[in-house]
């Protein structure tokens, strides 16, 4: 029997409906009737079901990440949303406008830490207990450094006390199942926000030969002189 376009379309729809788990008893009856005259119908159905299974498997794995993405709190979301806007605007703004925005950006980043911290298990700097949780049983000025985490915890604790370290905002770059078969191996950037006071600030511009040269930025608005 020759398969007409109408038959083909009807068969395609029935095959799709069955493969997608939406077929009723009537659909099966219709499919059986068509298949009686179209031997390839069963082959098509088997292939469609196989495609649906494989694709669902891959999509399911890809969407697994969705289950771990929670909503941020309102304050954090507002700050992050504003930061996103700033980032878009900044590429068109003069350097000083960007510099003035840094205060807002730092606040947003600190809030982002709380948001992302849940996801990556990052220690909140404000609540950092210190290296290896041993500060209560050993002299306060003694910090055993036995591993990178201890060293980093010491840096964070002392940095926070001195006011230099503001927040940490990790970015996950890559992940894969661990070769041991347990857990995952992750590659991430530890972005640590620091605050510092410097005597001079330079920005780069270009000279006549188009070579980058640093130019000292003068301090804007000197309140003491203005008064």
């Amino acid at each position: 029997m020759t398969t007409t376009p109408n038959h083909t379309e009807q068969l395609d729809l029935l095959v799709s409906r069955i493969a997608g788990g939406e077929a009723s008893a009537d659909d099966w009856t219709a499919f059986n009737a068509l298949a009686a005259h179209t031997p390839e119908a069963w082959k098509s159905l088997a292939q469609a079901q196989r495609d649906q299974h494989s694709l669902s498997l891959a999509v399911g794995v890809a969407l697994h990440a969705a289950d771990h993405v929670d909503l941020p709190g309102r304050d954090a979301a507002d700050a992050l949303f504003q930061r996103g806007r700033w980032r878009q605007d900044a590429s068109h703004s003069p350097a000083w406008a960007r510099a003035r925005s840094m205060g807002g950006w730092a606040v947003a980043a600190a809030l982002a830490l709380a948001f992302l911290g849940n996801r990556f298990g990052v220690i909140n700097i404000q609540d950092s207990p210190g290296p290896s949780n041993t500060a209560s049983v050993i002299p306060a000025n003694y910090f055993p450094i036995n591993n990178p985490d201890d060293a980093l915890a010491l840096y964070r604790t002392q940095g926070r006390q001195s006011g230099r370290v503001i927040a940490e905002m990790p970015v996950l770059l890559d992940s894969r199942p661990a070769t041991t078969g347990r857990g995952f191996e992750v590659v991430y950037v530890r972005q640590i926000l620091e605050r510092a006071q410097v005597n001079d600030l330079y920005r780069f511009t270009k000279d006549e030969a188009n070579r980058p040269i640093p130019v000292r930025i003068s301090v804007p608005d000197q309140p003491t002189r203005a008064e």
């Binding site: 398969t3 376009p5 083909t8 379309e9 009807q10 068969l11 395609d12 729809l13 029935l14 095959v15 409906r17 997608g20 939406e22 009723s24 009537d26 659909d27 219709a30 179209t38 390839e40 119908a41 082959k43 098509s44 292939q47 469609a48 196989r50 495609d51 649906q52 299974h53 494989s54 694709l55 669902s56 498997l57 891959a58 999509v59 399911g60 794995v61 890809a62 969407l63 990440a65 969705a66 289950d67 771990h68 993405v69 929670d70 909503l71 941020p72 709190g73 309102r74 954090a76 979301a77 507002d78 992050l80 949303f81 996103g84 970015v171 770059l173 890559d174 992940s175 894969r176 199942p177």
Partner: protein, 220 residues
């Protein structure tokens, strides 16, 4: 032809949309618990929408984080409770299109900076995946070649229990249109899979030669 052969399948009564409207109302008023509940109900299909529209080398979880932030920041501006799903989809589409490239570039920059020589996680995981998973990944890649409007419903249909009706609610289209698009998407995908050497040779169904492909394209 927009009518499928026979009546469309009845939407599954799986409760995915039950009680949404009151939750949306409360969420608009600022109730964080309601919004959280809504997010938990819908984030999987939001992720599928992102998956369908984001560039191939973008990171899904990054984009979903951005959608989460935008949802919290903008929910108070939603005017119609019934428009929640299309609104949520519009937020996801906007972020998929505007943010993906920037993030990918930034991550690539980090990798260059630190001299990270590893391949992408999913490419490496390819080596250890089951044959069905490898085939599924190939099909997912090939689905990127489908015409606009076909990939999204096909991927949404891969989410367990998502019916034609529910997909139609999300995309703002009748369920009959969704069903027709999914059926055509399956067929086009199979043709591309065959051309790519994936699966058994010649399914034989419908003599799927060039004329059929043209037929599909003209109807798209």
């Amino acid at each position: 032809m927009n009518d499928p052969a026979g009546p469309p399948a009845a939407p599954t009564a799986d409760g995915a949309g039950t009680g949404d409207q009151s939750l949306v109302r409360e969420a608009i008023r600022g109730d964080e618990e309601s919004l959280r509940e809504l997010w938990n109900r819908h984030r999987r299909w939001v992720a599928a929408v992102l998956l369908a529209h984001m560039p191939r080398d973008a990171e899904l979880d990054d984009l979903l984080q951005e959608v989460a932030v935008a949802v919290v920041a903008k929910i108070s501006g939603l005017r119609e409770e019934a428009a929640f799903k299309p609104w949520l989809r519009a937020v996801a589409l906007s972020i998929a299109k505007t943010s993906a490239r920037r993030r990918t570039v930034r991550k690539a920059g980090w990798f260059r900076l630190v001299g990270f020589a590893g391949a992408r996680a999913d490419e490496r995981a390819h080596d250890h995946a089951s044959p069905a998973m490898r085939e599924g990944r190939r099909l997912m890649d090939l689905s990127a070649e489908l015409p606009d409007g076909y990939r999204e419903p096909l991927l949404l249909k891969c989410i367990h229990d998502m019916s034609y009706k529910q997909i139609g609610d999300v995309m703002g289209l009748p369920d009959t249109t969704i069903e027709t698009r999914i059926a055509r998407a399956r067929k086009m995908l199979r043709e591309r899979a065959l051309a790519a050497g994936l699966g058994p040779e010649s399914p034989g169904r419908g003599r799927a030669g060039p004329s059929d492909s043209q037929h599909e394209s003209s109807r798209a």
